[in-house]
C-alpha cells in the first residue's frame, strides 16, 4: 500500500465539514505557517519538497513562487486553476467535492507564503455544484477565523472567492484563465510579460493547479525534506491519477510516484486490469494532449526497462518512444479500440475548443479533424496520412498558447505508432467505415 498524503481521509463521513476535517488534523498548516514561519520560510519548504505543478506542465512549484514580483504597495494574487477539462482528467473535481477544506487550507497557507490578500479559485462552469460545496467550506473557514481580517491574530488578512467559468477548455491555460476571470473571452495572452509580473488585473499573480495547492498543507506540516523522500528522483511526493477507458476499476488513485505502470493497470489495488478479460492495446497516460503509446511501450521503455509512473520514466525516449505524465489523465484502450476513430474524437475536441485567436491552431485543428473524419468514414487517401503529420508539424510551436501542441501531439503520435492502422483505413475503406470495425494488426514500434 502506498502512502496517501492528500486522500487519506477522503471517505471519512462528514470530512467536507470543518469540524470533522479539523478532527483529522485539518488547518494545522495554517496555524503552523502563520504563527511560526515567515512567508519566505514557507516558500523555502515548498522548494525543498521538489513539488512539481500537478496541472500538467510539471514545473517546480517553489521556483514558480519565487518568480513572483513583489513591488511594495501593489496587491498580488494567488489564483487556483480548477478549470479541469482535459479529456481523461477528473481528479480535481473529486478532490474538491469530497475534500473542499483541503483546497481552502492550501489556498490560505499558499496565499500567506505569496503575500496575497485576495485569492480566487477559478472553477470550470460545469461544476457549479462543486462551487457551492467550496463556498460552504469557505464560509465555515471565515466563521472559524481562518479567513478574513487578522487571521489567528497574526496580522495577516485574506479574502478567498470562487469564480465559475462558462464552458471553455482554453480557460485552463493560465493567461486565458486570467482573461476569463476579468470577464472577457478566454483568449490566451502573449508571454512575456508572465503572470508573475503582470497577471490578474495586471498585478503579479501565481496560478497553480488544485492538486499542487492541496499538497502545500502536507509539505508545511511534515517539512519539505520529508515530502521529497517520497517518490523517485525528481518526481517527488504522491500524485493523483484519474484512470478511465477500458479498465475494470476506473477511478482516482493517489500513488507514490515511481509505481510501475504494469502494477497500476493490472493490480487489484489499482485499476484491476482490462475490462471483459480483453487485451490492452494502447494508453494515453497524461490526458488527451500527450502522445499515445502502444501496450508494448507503455509497460516497458524502448530499452526494455519497466516503465514507471513518474515524470522522467514516462517521458523516457522523448516523443519517439515515450510520452508525458501531464495531468495524470490515464486513458486505457482495449484491443477493440479503433485508433483512427479515437484520434478523430480527440481532434474534434481540440477543433471545438480552439479559441480561434491564432490561425495555425484555428485552421489547423479543423484540418486535422476533417482529414481524420474522412479516413475514419472510408473516404481517405494514402496522402492523407502524411498530410496529418505535416499539418500537426505546422501547428506545433506556432501558436500563442500550448493548445496547438495539445492538438498536434496526439495525432502525430497515433500516426507514428499505428501507421499501418491508418493505411488499412485507406486500403480497406469500406470495411473500416463499418461501426465497430477494428484493424487486427500490430502496432508499429518506433
Amino acid at each position: 500500500m502506498g502512502r496517501k498524503l492528500l486522500t487519506e481521509h477522503i471517505n471519512v463521513e462528514g470530512i467536507d465539514t470543518l469540524e470533522v476535517y479539523r478532527k483529522h488534523g485539518g488547518y494545522r498548516s495554517v496555524e503552523k505557517a502563520l504563527k511560526t514561519m515567515t512567508p519566505d520560510e514557507v516558500v523555502e519548504e515548498v522548494k525543498k519538497s521538489g513539488l512539481r505543478g500537478r496541472g500538467g506542465a510539471g514545473f517546480p512549484t517553489g521556483m514558480k513562487w519565487s518568480f513572483l514580483a513583489k513591488p511594495e504597495g501593489v496587491p498580488r494574487y494567488l489564483v487556483c486553476n480548477a478549470d479541469e477539462s482535459e479529456p481523461g482528467t477528473f481528479k480535481d473535481r473529486q478532490l474538491m467535492s469530497k475534500l473542499p477544506h483541503l483546497l481552502v487550507e492550501g489556498m490560505i497557507t499558499s496565499s500567506y507564503a505569496l503575500g496575497a490578500n485576495t485569492s480566487y479559485i477559478y472553477i470550470r462552469g460545469e461544476l457549479l455544484y462543486v462551487l457551492r460545496i467550496l463556498e460552504k467550506a469557505i464560509a465555515e473557514a471565515y466563521a472559524a477565523g481562518f479567513l478574513g481580517k487578522n487571521i489567528l491574530g497574526s496580522g495577516y488578512d485574506l479574502d478567498l472567492h470562487v469564480h465559475p467559468g462558462g464552458g471553455a477548455y482554453i480557460c485552463g491555460e493560465e493567461t486565458a484563465l486570467l482573461e476569463s476571470l476579468e470577464g472577457k473571452r478566454g483568449n490566451p495572452r502573449n508571454k512575456p510579460p508572465f503572470p508573475a509580473v503582470q497577471g490578474l488585473y495586471a498585478r503579479p499573480t501565481v496560478v497553480n493547479n488544485v492538486e499542487s495547492i492541496a499538497a502545500v498543507p502536507v509539505i508545511v506540516n511534515d517539512g519539505g525534506e520529508e515530502y521529497a523522500k517520497i517518490g523517485v528522483g525528481r518526481s517527488t511526493g504522491t500524485k493523483l491519477f484519474s484512470a478511465c477507458g477500458h479498465l475494470n476499476k476506473p477511478g482516482i488513485y493517489e500513488i507514490e510516484l515511481g509505481l510501475p505502470v504494469e502494477e497500476f493497470i493490472y493490480s487489484d489495488e489499482y485499476c484491476g486490469g482490462i475490462w471483459k478479460g480483453r487485451e490492452l492495446k494502447a494508453v494515453v497516460a497524461g490526458g488527451s494532449s500527450v502522445p499515445i503509446l502502444p501496450k508494448e511501450l507503455i509497460l516497458k521503455t524502448a530499452a526494455g526497462e519497466p516503465r514507471l509512473m513518474s515524470y522522467e520514466s514516462l517521458s523516457d525516449g522523448g516523443f519517439v518512444t515515450g510520452t508525458m505524465l501531464g495531468s495524470g489523465g490515464f486513458i486505457a484502450m482495449d484491443e477493440t479500440t479503433c485508433i483512427v476513430r479515437n484520434t478523430w474524437s480527440f481532434s474534434r475536441f481540440y477543433h471545438h475548443e480552439s479559441c480561434g485567436q491564432c490561425s495555425p491552431c484555428r485552421e489547423g485543428t479543423g484540418w486535422l479533424e476533417k482529414v481524420l473524419h474522412r479516413l475514419e468514414h472510408g473516404h481517405g487517401h494514402m496522402e492523407d496520412i502524411d498530410l496529418l503529420v505535416s499539418v500537426a508539424k505546422q501547428i506545433e510551436g506556432n501558436t500563442i498558447c500550448p493548445l496547438g501542441e495539445a492538438a498536434a501531439w496526439p495525432v502525430a503520435a497515433a500516426v507514428r505508432h499505428f501507421r499501418d492502422e491508418f493505411e488499412w483505413h485507406v486500403t480497406h475503406a469500406k470495411e473500416a467505415a463499418q461501426p465497430g470495425a477494428v484493424y487486427q494488426g500490430k502496432a508499429v514500434l518506433a
Binding site: R124, E126, L128, R132, A168, G183, R185, C244, P250, F346
Partner: protein, 189 residues
C-alpha cells in the same frame, strides 16, 4: 437571435446575489462578475439568455452590452436560443466514446424524439446537446442536466431512470440565491 417583448427583471434575491458577487472583485473591476452573473441570468430566465436578458446583465454590472454579447457567444454553457425544460448535455469526447457515448446519444434521440444538435423534443421537455469533456471520464458515459451529473449511463435502465426522474420534476430545484428555498415554476414551462 430570438427576441422577447417584455423587459426582463431580476428577482430581488437574484439582485442581492449579484451584488454579493460583484463585491468579490475590486470596485473598478465589476466586469469580472460577468460569467457568474450570466449563470444567474440563465437560471432565472428559462435556461437561456435572450438579447434583452444580456442587456439587463450589462446594466446591472455597469458595462456595455457588446461586452456581454462577445462573452456569451464565446462560452458554450450559455444558450442563445430558447431551450426545453431540461437541457441534456451529453459528453462525447474520447473517454466517454470508449464507454459508449455514441450508443447513449442514439438511444436518447430515439426516446425523446429530439436531434442531438441542440433541438428540443416535440413535448418541449428535453433539449439535447453534445458537449466536449465534462471531466468525469471515470464514470462514463455521462449526461449533465443543469447542476447535476448523471453518470455511468451505459444501460437502458440507467437512462430510463434519469429520464423518469426528469419527467417527474414538476418544479426546478431551488437556486442558491433564492431566499425562500421554495421551488419556482420554470418560466417557459
Amino acid at each position: 437571435m430570438e427576441t422577447t417583448s417584455v423587459k426582463p427583471q431580476f428577482s430581488e434575491a437574484a439582485k442581492a446575489e449579484i451584488e454579493r458577487i460583484c463585491k468579490q472583485y475590486p470596485p473598478e473591476r465589476r466586469k469580472s462578475a460577468l460569467l457568474p452573473v450570466l449563470h444567474i441570468a440563465q437560471a432565472e430566465f428559462g435556461g437561456w439568455v435572450s438579447p434583452e436578458v444580456q442587456d439587463l446583465v450589462a446594466e446591472v454590472i455597469g458595462i456595455r452590452p457588446i461586452e456581454v454579447y462577445e462573452v456569451s457567444s464565446f462560452y458554450t454553457m450559455f444558450n442563445l436560443k430558447p431551450v426545453g425544460k431540461h437541457v441534456l448535455e451529453i459528453c462525447r469526447t474520447g473517454p466517454c466514446m470508449l464507454r459508449g457515448s455514441d450508443e447513449l446519444t442514439a438511444h436518447l434521440e430515439r426516446i425523446t424524439g429530439a436531434k442531438v444538435n441542440g433541438a428540443t423534443s416535440p413535448d418541449g421537455l428535453f433539449t439535447l446537446k453534445e458537449v466536449e469533456c465534462l471531466a468525469a471520464c471515470g464514470f462514463a458515459p455521462i449526461v449533465q442536466v443543469r447542476e447535476k451529473y448523471y453518470e455511468q449511463l451505459d444501460t437502458p435502465a440507467a437512462v430510463d431512470a434519469m429520464l423518469t426522474e426528469l419527467r417527474n420534476q414538476v418544479h426546478r430545484p431551488a437556486l442558491p440565491w433564492e431566499e425562500t428555498g421554495l421551488p419556482n415554476v420554470l418560466a417557459n414551462n
